[in-house]
């Protein structure tokens, strides 16, 4: 026993272990410790010019009305920007080494825009080496928060990540020079989305980060798509199904809105009133009502392949006749059933507490942000502005089919009459800006998972249990 214990004592003496390993060397020669570690950390700076807290507000206030903006293409401003780029590039040997993140399916297009930017701001004093990396809008914000030096200089992200980025101090304020142009070019709502506490932090990119209904015109008429129940019936008759991703909080939150619940993110606090009155209960029961039709006119779970692949495959195999999704699935659906057969409409009505109500939704924007820790603050802003400006938005629509935010672009004939855009516009009055509704703990509170529970139960749920669960969900957001 004693000898065993002794051995284990030694085993626990981990700290001593480390030293004894070195002690072996030490008794002979001392090669191990003589090497001081190399470090690139310099001594802390002592001077202090302007000590502002990281969360202090900036000085570029935004106003809904149009503002005086400098013409960025004028020789004078071009020269100013180029001087600044040269100054920033000088610190890294005259090369601007930046990283740009965008979704992998957008990569090739954004790369083209990036090249245009490089040509426009080309100068003999510096060269560009801007690297593209495929980090999608859904992940970008989280990735940026992994560390100040780890993230891209310029990145695209979904608007609900903005609050978190601003809170962490990870995203740079938009320079007035660019911001004034952003304000003038874009719709007031888009500008508002980019603004936190009166300060602008991002460049609007697309206005289609919301969802609506794509349907097969050979199955549904325009009247059919007014009501979810009718759609399910029709689809069932055609041996097809309507798809609504119930296990995803982004989608099923629409039911809560419809039933009168509010979901709010204000001043860093996430709230939701799922337990007040019968509103939350009604929302869940409305979902249950639809979920009863699983496998008979309705599909709620995309399964292992994920919603995008499920929708594309479903239309291709003729199993789906309609799906609640966004523009990103438009091309695949068109390819599957032919562009002429694809209809787009606002969401249908659902049966909430005995009456048909318009299904509400999240509406959102995709934004472009600049890392607060970028080594090229102004260059990065110039790039972000270029990627987000009105002309680029039109090009993006032409190649990628993504709906612009710029007022001029939205007025263009093709864009104005785009079915998807019209569906988004029709849904607009019933959509909630996700940047103002969700951040913080909403996504982790189990709203999505609860949709999964409803599907598992095929819509057969007990009222008391629902209330209990909703109370738990509500508590988790705090």
């Amino acid at each position: 026993m004693v000898s065993k214990s002794k051995r284990i004592v030694a085993l626990i003496l981990t700290a001593m272990m480390a030293s004894s390993a070195l002690a072996g060397c030490a008794s002979g020669s001392t090669t191990t410790t003589s090497s001081a570690p190399s470090t690139n950390s310099s001594a802390p700076a002592t001077e202090s010019k302007s000590d502002e807290g990281s969360k202090a507000g900036g000085d570029n206030s935004t106003d809904a009305s149009k503002v005086e903006a400098a013409n960025l293409d004028s020789d004078e401003v071009m020269a100013r920007i180029k001087d600044k780029i040269a100054e920033e590039a000088a610190a890294t040997g005259g090369t601007v080494q930046m990283t740009l993140w965008c979704s992998s399916d957008d990569k090739s297009f954004e790369e083209g825009l990036k090249k245009e930017f490089e040509e426009k701001y080309a100068d003999s004093r510096y060269s560009f080496r801007i690297k593209m990396s495929p980090i999608g809008e859904d992940k970008a914000g989280g990735k940026i928060l992994e560390g100040p030096k780890d993230g891209a200089d310029v990145f695209s992200f979904a608007d609900d990540q903005l609050a978190g980025l601003v809170e962490a101090g990870a995203i740079a304020q938009v320079a007035n020079l660019f911001n004034n142009n952003v304000i003038n070019e874009n719709s007031a709502k888009a500008v508002e989305v980019c603004t936190v506490n009166g300060t602008s932090y991002a460049f609007p990119k697309t206005s289609d980060n919301g969802y609506f209904m794509y349907y097969d015109k050979t199955v549904f008429t325009e009247d059919d798509v007014q009501s979810f129940d009718t759609m399910i019936e029709k689809a069932k008759a055609a041996n097809k199904a309507v798809f609504f991703e119930m296990g995803n909080a982004w989608y099923n939150a629409g039911f809560f809105f419809t039933a009168g619940c509010t979901i709010k993110y204000e001043n860093g606090v996430q709230t939701a009133n799922f337990t007040e009155g019968d509103m939350g209960l009604n929302a869940v029961k409305a979902m249950c009502h639809i979920a009863e039709n699983i496998g008979a006119g309705f599909e709620g779970d995309p399964g292992s392949a994920g919603a995008n692949a499920f929708i594309a495959q479903g239309f291709k195999d003729g199993k789906l006749a309609a799906a609640v999704t966004g523009t990103w699935n438009g091309p695949a659906i068109k390819e599957a059933i032919g562009a002429d057969n694809v209809g787009a409409a606002k969401l249908p009505t659902v049966l909430v507490a005995g009456e048909q109500k318009q299904l509400e939704s999240f509406g959102g924007y995709k934004l472009i942000g600049v890392n607060a820790y970028s080594a090229y603050p102004i260059t990065a802003q110039a790039l972000a502005y270029y990627l987000g400006k009105a002309e680029s938005q039109v090009k993006r629509y032409n190649v990628r089919g993504l709906i612009p935010t710029a007022t001029a672009a939205l007025e263009e004939e093709a864009i104005k009459n785009d079915p998807a855009r019209m569906a988004i516009a029709a849904q607009e009055p019933f959509s909630h800006a996700q940047g103002q509704c969700v951040a913080g703990k909403f996504w982790g509170a189990g709203v999505g998972g609860y949709g999964g529970d409803i599907l598992n139960a095929k819509g057969k749920m007990d009222d008391a249990k629902i209330r209990e669960d909703l109370a738990k969900i509500e508590a988790k957001m705090k």
Partner: protein, 313 residues
């Protein structure tokens, strides 16, 4: 055994019949099990030849057979001018490929070769020292290694990345080499088990002839240890081909530095899955084939190593 003399001939016939039935049962069980085990692999291979893109979950035999998925791994087409939807399609250069599989293979190969060489050396050194040499802190080191191995592998992932960034290896392939091989010292058991089986009399004889321990290691022990060297080299070489966690955390989205596991996994991102799933299958099959071959070769070394290590302790 008993008083009655049994009819030997009858009994033998009975035994033979019994045995035959038993064997057939075993064959059937084995066949069924093989089917179960091989089914997902066959499904994967069939999907890699599927001419229809998309994730067709419920099909086993593709309707259209094609080899294009394999070609698409290395030859991807795109618009000549990405800004103009009407521009002609061209074969994209590596830098513009959405999924540069060839580059990922190269990356993985580089990482695998370096970490294989370094890890094998380290493992051989450590296991030789712990198996053949006797010194004061030997037991402590072994126990310490055991303890260290019980911390979850990626618990300190964020801290390791911080260190890499400080020494200038942030987002570099070489940081992966270091991660894969720095812990190699803890994986000495199997090689040590092998060294334990080499008779000590060899060392003694060499020592009498005046050989140093250094010489014994290089001249006597290593040439005898070919199987375990091959085994160690193969396992350490194969490691980087399957690791996803460290690559995904260390490369911070820089797809020019991905290894093949990470790259393939990226093909299944929601926005690309429909388009690229069959290509993913092809890519997976393509790396699985050489690994399977190496693995089958390694089989007997694995058996020898595991049992040798286990018996000797």
């Amino acid at each position: 055994m008993t008083t009655k003399q049994p009819n030997i001939g009858n009994m033998q016939a009975g035994y033979a019949k019994q045995r035959k039935i038993a064997n057939i049962t075993v064959y059937i069980i084995l066949a069924v099990m093989v089917l179960v085990w091989i089914f997902p692999i066959v499904w994967l291979v069939f999907q890699s030849f599927n001419g229809e893109k998309g994730v067709s979950l419920a099909t086993f035999f593709p309707e259209k057979w094609t080899f294009d998925n394999y070609i698409k791994l290395f030859r991807q087409e795109g618009l000549e001018n990405p800004m103009d939807p009407n521009s002609p399609m061209i074969v994209l250069p590596v830098d513009r490929m959405p999924f540069p599989y060839g580059r990922w293979i190269t990356n993985t190969f580089i990482v695998a070769v370096f970490s294989c060489v370094i890890s094998t050396l380290i493992i051989l050194m450590v296991s030789y020292a712990l198996s053949r040499l006797r010194f004061k802190s030997r037991k402590m080191l072994m126990n310490f290694g055991l303890i260290l191995g019980m911390f979850p592998g990626f618990m300190s992932m964020a801290a390791i990345y911080n260190i890499m960034e400080i020494i200038g290896l942030g987002k570099q392939l070489f940081s992966l080499v270091i991660v894969y091989s720095s812990g190699a010292g803890l994986g000495y058991q199997i090689a040590k088990g092998f060294f334990d089986t080499i008779p000590r009399s060899l060392d003694e004889a060499a020592k009498i002839d005046g050989a140093t321990r250094n010489q014994i290691f290089w001249i006597i022990i290593l040439p005898l240890s070919k199987p375990i060297i091959v085994y160690t080299a193969l396992t350490t070489f194969l490691g980087p081909w399957a690791d996803y966690v460290f690559v995904s955390y260390f490369m911070k989205g820089d797809d020019t530095k991905y290894t093949v596991a990470m790259g393939l996994y990226e093909m299944l991102r929601p926005e690309t899955m429909h388009e690229w799933f069959t290509v993913f299958c092809a890519g997976a099959v393509l790396i699985a084939v050489p690994i399977t071959i190496l693995f089958t070769i390694m089989q007997r070394f694995y058996v020898a190593g595991v049992t040798g290590g286990a018996v000797k302790g």
